[in-house]
Amino acid sequence: MKSRIKTIFAILTVSLASCTDVVDVEVQNGPERLVVEASLDWEKGTAGNVQTIRLRKSTPFFDTKTTADVTGASVVVTNDTSGETFAFMDQNNGIYRTTNFRPVLGQSYSLRIEYDGEVYTARETMTPVTDITNVFQDRAEGFDDEALEVHVVFTDPPEEGDNYLFRFQREGDLLPDLEVAEDEFINGNEIDWWYEIDDDNENLEPFEPGDVVNIEMYGISRPYYDYIKILIDQLGGVGIFEATPVAVKGNCINETNPDNYAYGYFRLTEVVKTSYTFLED
């Protein structure tokens, strides 16, 4: 909700009097870092044994050519209580995979990566998520009255401190959309979370009957919420009424050389996935 308050200014300034165009800009070149996409997501109703971790390198901002996959690393996840370890096997394409992971909600796990003579570690707790109770479509809500939006209904659990990550992607679209929510203002309530593609986006058409949108709702930890929220706020760039963008630091520490920290995050979530096909209304 807070972020929606903020987006108002961006929308208003842009809609009042302005024009945008794509320009050539010279940017600085920062240090190359390891990128850890260690998202151990346990889909409700599945065993959650098969998990992958991706390792890559960061590249110059406008670079489109460099292959960034990292191979030859050792990747191990440990259950902090039982000491059980899960080795992730190098698939030689930046992906490391295990088929025997055992997810436990509320359990703390540790990640250890050895790469290029340096050791990276991270620790995180697997966070549960509530169920989606209803998904439907409408036009009345959203920033655009005429555009179709999908509604995801769920009930926030009574205890405070639930955090959510939503991932929406229309089939056929190149990029997914991420949104986050916390229960600070809405604790314990039934929530109707809507998502639409409004016609302000000149490159994307609003939803149409027949479109299929994939919906994922993750239960996330507070530290991950703080992390992904900044990351999402900075997606697509930062306008004059938004906070100064920063180099977002995740939870992967370089034990050997702390300044050479890794991008990305070691997250453990429970996730509910569904999809919705828009109908004629």
Partner: protein, 801 residues
């Protein structure tokens, strides 16, 4: 033992000054002296004139009128030629025989009776003032402001000020202004002495000051007189017109964006006058007519009336109400505005002691209504200010300002209310905060020799953060903690709360603020001036964005936020030349600000009850060189302004531990501008046509660009470089305007003029922001520029009846 040898240099200086002062005043009393005092007003409308100079020809005895047009000068008995002069007005000369105290109210007339205030006049800007120690001051008259070409034809006080050295903005379409590398919230903006918290309409496209209702604009960039307090960078003192006390009149204008109408005239017989000025935008009406669901509107209302009880007592009542309202397609409504009122009592105790008592209320509030999500958001700040200022004209070489004031603040940083029973949002009220700010001051203007004049004063300010709210306690007293493992700043752990009762003070602060300046007259045409001033600021605007938004809330100093303290040193050279047709002002300054708050990465300020968990305590420094060359006379007038400056801030980890923000290194503030050049000119071709032009060049403002990318969640994530380590492209543009006064109106009571202006003549797409993201079709990263105003022509019709 000689105790004097223990005096430190500062004390010695004070002792010397005291001696000089008593000696001076004794000399003045040694022979019979008399005082001439009174008020200077404009002959055509009875408006009192602020800053008119009054002097006795052939002597060095003189002074200037105060904000209420009052003057008082004291001289030895004798016959004198008494002269009153004011820029743009004919001098008035009176022969006086000063053998007793004289009261003399003087009316002076503008240069040409053809000209009047609504018609853009060739009124000259002020020359360099050589003898007064007052420096770092910009005074603009409304005539000059109205002459400046402006975007969409809306005359704008703040944009005109930005054409002068040391004053910048934060890009088009953003509110407020920056003075000498200071932040927006470090400017004290006063409209008839009432604090204005937000100076912008429509998020900064226009300012809240309706030029038709304004008499004087004075900006103190440094050397802030001791009577002002509460902000560390500058004071913008704007005074509303009193209203025409001779004739009833209507003034107005019809523009592209808004229309204005001002009514003024005498009231209470000949005892007073009134002024009502209104302005309303009609973009919303146009949008509605065009079938748009979005709506945007603003309006202001300025009110003023005064009543003379007798010669020595006069009452003024002034008010301002302004509001912006947006309706975005019925999804959310948004409105915000300032409201203020001031009741003043001028009392003249005797011909040498002038006083003014003011009781002022001002309020700023912000409202949001989310129709769809069924909740509304309200935040506000209210203050009540009582202030008593006196000026004693002791002798021809010494005058003293002194007074006291107290401000009670009530901050309501935010409330969330569900607007329907099925709203998904729970009610929430952030803790209301209260505070009391008081100040006492004394300031002397002292002519030490014929060449050397000093202004020295002291202000003592105190601030109490009052109870009526709980204060959170944190583990290890750290509201913010450095997580050395992850290398990030995190919110501290709350371990309890202390509830403070309404009457109790949670925390108190006190500061001595010395203000000193000297002017030394080198010769008839040039002088050098030097100044030092210290100022304290107890309330802070919370903003972690590059531009302040109307939603940003003010917060008082308290257990976790220290008052900001600034020290500013300035040195200047002032010269009039070529028979005073030209003037040159060169000033250098160095300014430091302690306790400037800065925001940790990912700080969340909206709806935040514990601001202390989002901020660290830092400092600022700014320095620069300002140059102003003006041509004051002739058909072509104008100026060239150049500023070379630097503005930086640094925030160490402090009690939170760690290296601090940006590694604890100095970094550019959002408003650092290396070069800032403005050329502004106006040319009067004939009685019908006049022309104006501006040229502006500025170094691009500091921004943060990416320095790398990586893939995460199937998206390209930008990783950003150090804060403000990049810059937008340079900003430049040219504006022109032409004013046409049809001849047929010239001798009638009804007068009109057309103003055609073209903003950004060569359609430069100045970047207000450059943002970085992925193209949704190709997935490639790209940089997108947002430009606010391209070329904007506009036509305005002004009239006076």
């Amino acid at each position: 033992m000689n105790s004097k040898s223990h005096l430190n240099p500062a004390t010695k200086t004070i002792v010397w000054l005291l001696r000089a002062f008593f000696l001076g005043s004794m000399l003045a009393m040694g022979q019979t002296s008399h005082t001439i005092s009174g008020t200077v007003t404009d002959k055509s409308n009875g408006e009192t004139l602020f800053g008119a100079s009054v002097f006795l020809v052939g002597t060095t005895i003189g002074g200037v009128t105060n904000e209420y047009g009052f003057y008082s000068i004291t001289a030895p008995e004798g016959e004198y030629v008494f002269t009153i002069s004011y820029m743009g007005y004919n001098d008035v000369t009176i022969n006086i025989n000063l053998n007793q105290d004289i009261k003399s109210d003087v009316e002076i007339a503008e240069f040409s009776t053809e000209l009047d205030e609504v018609v853009v006049t060739a009124e000259e800007p002020e020359r360099a003032i050589l003898q007064k120690p007052e420096m770092s001051v910009v005074k603009m008259n409304v005539g000059t402001i109205k002459q400046t070409p402006v975007v969409l034809g809306e005359v704008d006080v703040l944009k005109a000020l930005q054409l002068l050295p040391g004053v910048t903005n934060n890009g088009e379409g953003t509110g407020g202004f920056h003075v000498r590398g200071g932040a927006q919230d470090q400017n004290l903006v006063l409209l008839d002495e009432a604090i204005i918290y937000n100076t912008s309409h429509m998020f900064g496209f226009f300012s809240v000051f309706n030029a038709d209702a304004i008499k004087d604009v004075k900006l103190y960039k440094g050397g802030i007189p001791a009577r002002f307090g509460g902000r560390v960078s500058s004071v913008l003192d704007i005074r509303q017109k009193d209203g025409n006390s001779k004739d009833f009149g209507l003034t107005g204008g019809i523009g592209v964006i808004s229309s204005r109408l001002t009514a003024e005239g005498p009231v209470f017989g000949d005892k007073g006058s009134f002024l009502i000025a209104g302005r309303r935008s009609y973009v919303d009406l146009i949008l509605k007519a065009a079938g748009e669901d979005n709506s945007v509107a603003f309006y202001d209302l300025n009110l003023k009336t005064n009543y003379s009880i007798d010669r020595n007592n006069k009452l003024f009542l002034s008010g301002y109400f302004g509001r912006d309202a947006f309706d975005f397609d019925g999804i959310f409504e948004n409105s915000y505005g300032n409201a203020s009122g001031n009741l003043r009592w001028n009392h003249i105790f005797n011909d040498r002691l002038f006083s003014n008592l003011s009781a002022i209320v001002s309020r700023y509030d912000y409202y949001l209504n989310f129709d769809q999500e069924d909740f509304e958001w309200v935040s506000s700040i209210i203050n009540y200010n009582l202030k008593y200022d006196l000026k004693y004209y002791w002798s021809d070489v010494f005058s003293l300002d002194f007074g006291a004031n107290g401000i009670y603040y009530d901050f309501d940083p935010g409330q969330v209310q569900p607007t329907s029973p099925d709203s998904p949002v729970n009610p929430l009220k952030l803790d209301q905060k209260r505070a009391l700010e008081t100040g006492i001051y004394m300031n002397a203007e002292h002519k030490l020799t014929d060449r050397l004049t000093a202004q020295y004063g002291l202000r003592y300010s105190a601030f109490s953060r009052l109870g009526g709210q709980p204060i959170t306690e944190y583990a290890n007293a750290q509201p913010v903690v450095y997580n050395s493992t992850l290398g990030i700043y995190e919110r501290g752990e709350a371990i309890g709360e202390t509830e403070f009762a309404r009457g109790d003070a949670i925390e108190t602060f006190g500061n001595l603020e010395p203000r000193v300046s000297l002017a030394y007259l080198l010769n008839e045409d040039s002088s050098i001036k030097a100044g030092f001033s210290r100022a304290a600021q107890y309330i802070h605007l919370l903003s972690n964005t590059s531009s302040v938004t109307p939603l940003d809330v003010w917060t008082p100093s308290g257990p976790f936020i220290e008052p900001q303290l600034s020290n500013q040193y300035a040195l200047g050279y002032f010269r009039n030349f070529l028979n005073k047709a030209y003037s040159l002002e060169v000033e250098g300054y160095y300014k430091t600000v302690d306790n400037r708050i800065d925001y940790i990465d990912g700080s969340e300020l909206i709806g935040q009850n514990t601001i202390e968990t989002e901020i660290l305590n830092g400092e600022m420094r700014a320095y620069g060189l300002e140059l102003l060359l003006r041509k004051n006379e002739g058909d072509l007038t104008g100026w060239i302004a150049y500023t070379l400056s630097k503005s930086e801030q640094r925030t160490p980890g402090g009690i939170a531990g760690g290296p601090g923000i940006n590694n604890g290194d100095w970094y550019n503030t959002f408003f650092d501008r290396t070069h800032d050049v403005s050329v502004s000119g106006s040319y009067r071709w004939n009685d019908q046509w006049s022309f104006g032009a501006n040229m502006i060049f500025q170094t691009g403002r500091p921004v943060t660009y990416p320095n790398g990318q990586y893939e995460y969640e199937d998206l390209s994530i930008a990783s950003y470089a150090q804060r403000n380590s990049d810059r937008l492209p340079a900003y430049h543009r040219v504006d022109v305007s032409a004013t046409f006064k049809p001849r047929r109106y010239q001798h009638k009571r009804f007068k009109g003029e057309w103003v055609l202006s073209i903003y950004n003549l060569y359609h430069r797409k100045n970047a207000a922001a450059i943002s970085f993201g992925q193209n949704v079709e190709t997935g490639a990263n790209e940089a997108t520029r947002t430009a606010i105003f391209g070329i904007v022509p506009s036509l305005t019709y002004n009239f006076k009846f």
